[in-house]
Amino acid sequence: MNTTSTHFVSSRRFEIYEPLNQIGSMWEESFKNNGGMYTPSSIIIPTNEKPESLSEDTSHGTEGTPHKFDQEASTSRHPDKIQRRLAQNREAARKSRLRKKAYVQQLETSRLKLIHLEQELDRARQQGFYVGNRVDTNALGFSDNMSSGIIAFEMEYGHWVEEQNRQISELRTVLYGQVSDMDLGLLVDNAMKHYFQLFRMKAAAAKIDVFYIMSGMWKTPAERFFMWMGGGFRPSELLKVLLPHFDPLTDQQLLDVCNLKQSCQQAEDALSKGMEKLQHTLADSVAAGKLGEGSYIPQMTSAMERLEALVSFVNQMYRILTTRQAARGLLALGEYFQRLRALSSSWATRKREPT
């Protein structure tokens, strides 16, 4: 035992971290404090595992000189494990340093590329070429065009989607199992509140940058494709997607849903025509060089009223359906958008055929 421990102690002499004279007292110190491992900052070592067992070991022993005895007893019981752990930690630290180096190199390269790209874009823009919308020549940061309010909105929206996914999973689990109408009602209410929260977020962001919201910049490309006038979806289209999930519908419900569908189509038609007129008016203003704010900003903000009309649609559906039907509808709706988002990312990363 003694040989082992001394061997162990002397092998520490060749550690690269500290000269032995410092290790000696530190070593004993650390056994008492953090469970037996000397922890220079570059090593991550679990500190909670050994202390109890070690101190238990030593307490079983004699009450002789505490420190040196502790050290010998513990190292003699677990020299190999300690050795192995130290070696593993060194290895992990080394790998971590290599990864970090590689990552930093990657960052540097990207940074240079980005500066280069921004310069090119600047040149192109000055020559009047079309340049992508969210890119601007403000070195390495968010563009001037993207105000802090919009950045905040995008971050909030990210959280909103995460919460949405969680709610969808919960709905799915609950609908496959047994759940009381009351509990289901709570989930449905939460889901509705969640949608209303998004409406409010969009309305607030529209006050900051109405074009951004109206063109659905925060959405994935596939969602934007189906988007209707910045509102997110065309209610009558949505009804088509959701209708099969409401089965069975009572006769009264069927009648109500049909009426709602028709009213929706009429409202959508009217609003679409209003939007067309707005676009014509705007285009005329641009063509005539009348870019003064007074001429079109109020128009744009009034067009945002359409968002609130959609809220009304949601309320109507809520009124017509039972809790269970509403839950199924919400699940179907959530999954629909999940699929759209997934489609966007899989499409963007698809293998391109050789041309």
Partner: protein
């Protein structure tokens, strides 16, 4: 304001609008779809435009245009009209004023 009271009390559906207002246009389209021919007052062509705007706001409209009155009573703006329609309450409201199809 007298003028507003007078104009809004006209028979049928009355819409206060501005020639450039696109949401007023949307509301007009909707009523036409329902077979109603509303009376349109383009207040930007009226010399008392400012006064009318103020009066409409005082009556409770969040935006002066479009302001929709049915049978002398204020219904509201685009939002209110669309919401009423989705809830199925707009048609009964304007039924007396729907154009005869004969």
């Amino acid at each position: 304001m007298d003028k507003v009271v007078r104009m809004s009390s006209e028979k049928g559906v009355v819409i206060f609008s501005k020639s450039s207002c696109c949401m007023s246009y949307a509301v007009q389209v909707l009523f036409q779809d329902l077979g109603v021919h509303p009376t349109i007052h383009e207040i930007d062509k009226d010399p008392d435009c400012r006064e009318i705007e103020k009066a409409l706001m005082r009556l409770g409209c969040s935006t002066p245009v479009p302001a929709i009155f049915v049978g002398g009573k204020l219904v509201g703006s685009t939002n209110e009209v669309m919401s009423l329609h989705l809830s199925g309450s707009l048609v009964p409201l304007v039924k007396p004023f729907q154009a005869n199809l004969f």
